[in-house]
Every structure is written in structure tokens, then in C-alpha cells.
Amino acid sequence: MKLVTAIIKPHMLDEVKTALESFGIEGMTVSEASGFGRQRGHTEVYRGAEYTVDLVPKVRLEVLVDDEDAKDIIDVLVKSARTGRIGDGKVWSVPVDDLVRVRTGERGLDAL
């Protein structure tokens, strides 16, 4: 099993979610995040005083998947989250040792 994590632009969430659902994903975790990459931050001006906002709002999306689906899901994520402009984010996956569905106690692939 793998945990696929994507950091994406907040306004791309709906598109990415729809793409993952059409692929057949049955669950995901979404959280608000902030950070910066090569995009860096942006500036805001209040009464003429300029402030640099370093940390840009992002959405972190996590999906647990079967090993054989991981590559396809990463492709779906990358395709649906891309705008082609700077700040589109990153997608990565890491191996998962164990997985339990809390309600039933099912383990491993059964818990996906």
C-alpha cells in the first residue's frame, strides 16, 4: 500500500477531487496547508505599507492506495492539478506498513 500526498492550489481542489472520484477512489483526506516553493510568496499593501506574505495557502490531499494503482493515481493528480503556472504544487508517495479500518478492525488491503 502507498500513501499518495498532493500539495495543490486551493482553487484546484474541486477539479482534482472530481478526477479522483472518476478514477474510482472512495476516500481521501483534505487539509488546509501553507508553505512556499519556487513560487515564494506575494506582497500585500495596507495604507501604503508593503508586507511580504511568505507562506501561501495550499491544500494538502492524501489518498491511501493499492501499490498497483499508485502510479496511475499520481498521474491523475498531476494532470488535474496542473494550471501550467508557477505554484501548482507537488505530488509524492510513500510506502505504508499497516492500515486498519477503525470501525471493523479490518487490516491491510481490506481496509482500503
Partner: protein, 454 residues
């Protein structure tokens, strides 16, 4: 002489205006509250509400008498004992067309908001108890006398005998300050500067971002201020008449022009017209038209507004050059806007307006201009010196600033044991949820919830 009847139209308008002006202080609390960081929004609003509470009491006890009692000499102060506790003002005066209490109420709310305005200069860092003591002292020895100078007019009876002697700026100097450019805005603006100097800069000023946490509150606050300001200016006619109506229109159009000018300044200088700029432009325009609204034509009002918008938009940057932390720009907006509006009368006053005086541009020469300048700078100096002394003495005795650590963690929690927002995130209500206990009262035994969870 035959008893006069109360003019119900005028009375209704003055009581309405007083209520409108009262609403300006909660409006100011929103305007200022939105501009600070989330961790100090409550303290910012509490400084306004504290002024509301305290000054309303002081006004009734002796403030009204100090401002509007018969002059004790040289036009500097009203007799504090004449109307102490508002004595003698409850009866229906057969010689009055407006009940004295209507005027007492209308002037009370001016005193309140003038004190509240100062608080914007010392955001995030002032002990609430010291602020309250400062408010009481400042109102007593700065505002009440200055209100006497500017707002208390000498009265004569039909035979020409003086029945009441007022303050020196209104009568001897004959400077025009219709609704409080000197008494309210220059006064509070320069007091803000003095306190910002006494308290010093906030921790991290110019290093950390201190951007407004809620601009929608700022916009609502600016809207309420504008609404209430129609009572402030048009109510200052002390009658429901032509003067009030001219003033109303001037108050509308100067404010619109100032907001436009501020936005255009931002557009050209920074690239974007901002909501904070619109809200600030509104207030700058209102400040500038306050003294001048009875003396200029609507076209004059537009000019006053346009200049106020540009001037104040540029003036708010001064603090970074000169190095004082006037946190919410009380100086840049109220002092600068108040000075401009007061001096503008000397240039733009026209005989056709209710005040009936010509300024420099209308062939009146410099006669009115020098009167305006003397009035403005007299109030400025008096307020600056006294506020520095009061602030300095309080700082050295009971302390004016909170601990540095409390300031960084947020003044709301340190001074009021509250936080402004509970938006349901993990840290907001975690403790109650984990222990499953009802909120604990402060006076209960501290071991209480350990027993419950054990």
C-alpha cells in the same frame, strides 16, 4: 415675557443626532478592531467601550458644567459647579425652545468619541486599567476645557445684555469650527501622537507583518461612522433647519470625494485601490469636512474632500519616516485631516454658506485664515503638552505598557482573559472536549476537574 414653547422638530432632530453620534463609538470600535491583529481585537474594541462607559458618567457629574457652565474668566473654562450633577437642568425652562438635556446628551457623545479616537495610536500594548485612568484625566483637563473654548457660545438677551459667557476660540477669536475639527480631531489626533511617543513602538514594529485581521469589520465600522457623522455635523446646527441641510449635503460629498482621492492615490502609487483605502478615505473626508461643513459650498466641500484624501493617504506614511508607532494612523487621518479642514475654512469659506464668511479665495483676505490657524495650533499645543505630561506620569507611576511577553502572546488574553474568535480549530475548545467537563468558573477550586476526570 411670554413663555416660549419647546420646538418639537428641533428637539426630535437633536435627540436623533445624539443617538447617531453615540453609534459612532461602537462603529469606531469595529473600524479599529478590524485593523489590528486577531490577538488584540477585543482590547482594541474595549478601549472604545471603556470610553463610552466612563465619559458618559463624568460628563453628567461635572464635564458638561466644565464645558458649558458660565465662563470663569478669559474664556478658558466653564464653571464646574454651575451644573454639577446636571443640577437645575431637569425643569422645563420657559425661556428655552430646546430642552437643556437634549443639548447635554448631544454634547456628551462628542466627549466620548473624542477620547475613544485616541486609542488607535496605542493598539496592542496599553494596560486597560491605565487606559481608563488616562481617559478620565484626559477628558477632565483636556477635552472639557477645549470643548468650552470651541463649542460654548456667548449668549445675549433681547436687550443685548450678556446672559452667558462662553469660550475664547468661539467668541473672542471667532474661529469657525462647526462640529469639532479642533476640539475633536486635532485634539484627539495630537493626543494620539503624544501617547504613541510615551508608550513607544510595539514589539516587532516594522519587522513583523501587522496587517489588519478583518477588513470586513473595518468596512462596516467606516459605514457606521459615516452614518453617525450626519448626526455629528448636521446635528451641530442645533436645529432642524437650512444650515443642517446644507451641512448634510457637504458631509456627503466631501466624504465621497475623499474616498475617491485616497483610492486614486493608491492606484497610482501602489497599483491597487484597496478596501482599507476606501474606508480610510471615508474617515479622512469626514474629519476634514467636520469644522468646515457650514462655511463652504458643496463645490468647496468636494475640494476639501479631494485634498483630504490625497493628503491623509500620504500622511499615514510619515510614521515610518519619523519612527513613531501610531498604530492605526490617528495622526495621519485625524490630526492631518483636522488641520486641513480647519485651515481650509480660511481659504474656501464663502459668504453664501450658512456661516456667512468669505475666505481668501472668495475675497475675504487672510482675516479668517489667521483666526483658523490660531485656533488650530492653540488646541494642538495645549493637547500635545498636557497629553505628554499625563501619559508620562502614568507610565512612570502605574505603568502604561503590558509585559513584552503578554504583548507578543496577545493583549486580549493578558488583559481581558478572552479571545476574539473561536472558529472551531483544534486549539480553540480542545480542553473542554477532552476532559468532558463543563466550563469552570474562575472562583471554583482548581482541583475540581481533576476529580471529575479521575
Amino acid at each position: 415675557m411670554t413663555p416660549l414653547e419647546i420646538d418639537t422638530g428641533n428637539t426630535a432632530w437633536i435627540l436623533t443626532s445624539a443617538s447617531l453620534v453615540l453609534l459612532m463609538t461602537p462603529g469606531l470600535a469595529l473600524f479599529y478592531g478590524g485593523m489590528v491583529r486577531a490577538k488584540s481585537v477585543l482590547n482594541m474594541m474595549m478601549m472604545s467601550f471603556g470610553a463610552l462607559a466612563l465619559i458618559s458618567v463624568l460628563w453628567v457629574l461635572y464635564g458638561y458644567s466644565m464645558a458649558f457652565g458660565n465662563d470663569i474668566g478669559a474664556g478658558v473654562l466653564g464653571d464646574p459647579l454651575e451644573y454639577i450633577g446636571l443640577k437645575g437642568l431637569m425643569t422645563d425652562d420657559p425661556e428655552a425652545t430646546l430642552p437643556a438635556m437634549a443639548f447635554v446628551g448631544f454634547q456628551a457623545v462628542f466627549a466620548i468619541i473624542t477620547v475613544a479616537l485616541i486609542s488607535g495610536a496605542i493598539a496592542d500594548r496599553a494596560k486597560f486599567s491605565t487606559w481608563m485612568i488616562f481617559s478620565g484625566i484626559w477628558a477632565s483637563i483636556v477635552y472639557f476645557p477645549v470643548a468650552h473654548w470651541v463649542f460654548d457660545f456667548t449668549l445675549t438677551d433681547d436687550a443685548g445684555t450678556v446672559t452667558h459667557t462662553g469660550g475664547w476660540i468661539a467668541n473672542n477669536l471667532a474661529a469657525i469650527d462647526f462640529a469639532g475639527g479642533t476640539a475633536v480631531h486635532i485634539n484627539a489626533g495630537v493626543a494620539g501622537l503624544a501617547l504613541a511617543l510615551v508608550l513607544g513602538k510595539r514589539v516587532g514594529w516594522r519587522r513583523d507583518p501587522m496587517r489588519p485581521h478583518n477588513l470586513t469589520l473595518v468596512m462596516i465600522g467606516a459605514g457606521l461612522l459615516w452614518f453617525g457623522w450626519f448626526g455629528f455635523n448636521a446635528g451641530s446646527a442645533v436645529a432642524a433647519n437650512n444650515t443642517a441641510s446644507v451641512v448634510w449635503v457637504n458631509t456627503l460629498v466631501a466624504t465621497g470625494a475623499a474616498a475617491l482621492a485616497w483610492l486614486l492615490t493608491e492606484k497610482f502609487r501602489d497599483g491597487h485601490p484597496t478596501s482599507l483605502g476606501a474606508a480610510s478615505g471615508v474617515v479622512a473626508g469626514l474629519v476634514a469636512i467636520t469644522p468646515s461643513c457650514s462655511a463652504v459650498s458643496p463645490i468647496g466641500a468636494i475640494l476639501i474632500g479631494l485634498v483630504a484624501g490625497v493628503l491623509c493617504a500620504l500622511a499615514v506614511g510619515l510614521k515610518y519616516k519619523l519612527g513613531y508607532d501610531d498604530s492605526l494612523d490617528v495622526v495621519g487621518v485625524h490630526l492631518v485631516g483636522g488641520l486641513w479642514g480647519t485651515l481650509a475654512i480660511g481659504f474656501l469659506a464663502t459668504e453664501e454658506a450658512p456661516a456667512g464668511v468669505n475666505g481668501l479665495f472668495y475675497g475675504g483676505g487672510v482675516d479668517q485664515l489667521w483666526r483658523q490657524a490660531v485656533g488650530a495650533f492653540a488646541v494642538l499645543l495645549y493637547s500635545l503638552v498636557l497629553t505628554l505630561i499625563i501619559g508620562f506620569v502614568l507610565q512612570k507611576t502605574i505603568g502604561f505598557r503590558i509585559d513584552e511577553e503578554d504583548e507578543m502572546a496577545g493583549i486580549d488574553n493578558a488583559e481581558h482573559a478572552e479571545t476574539g474568535y473561536d472558529l472551531g480549530n483544534l486549539t480553540s475548545s480542545l480542553r473542554g472536549a477532552l476532559t468532558g467537563t463543563a466550563p469552570r468558573r474562575a472562583d471554583e477550586d482548581h482541583n475540581h476537574d481533576e476529580e471529575v476526570t479521575a
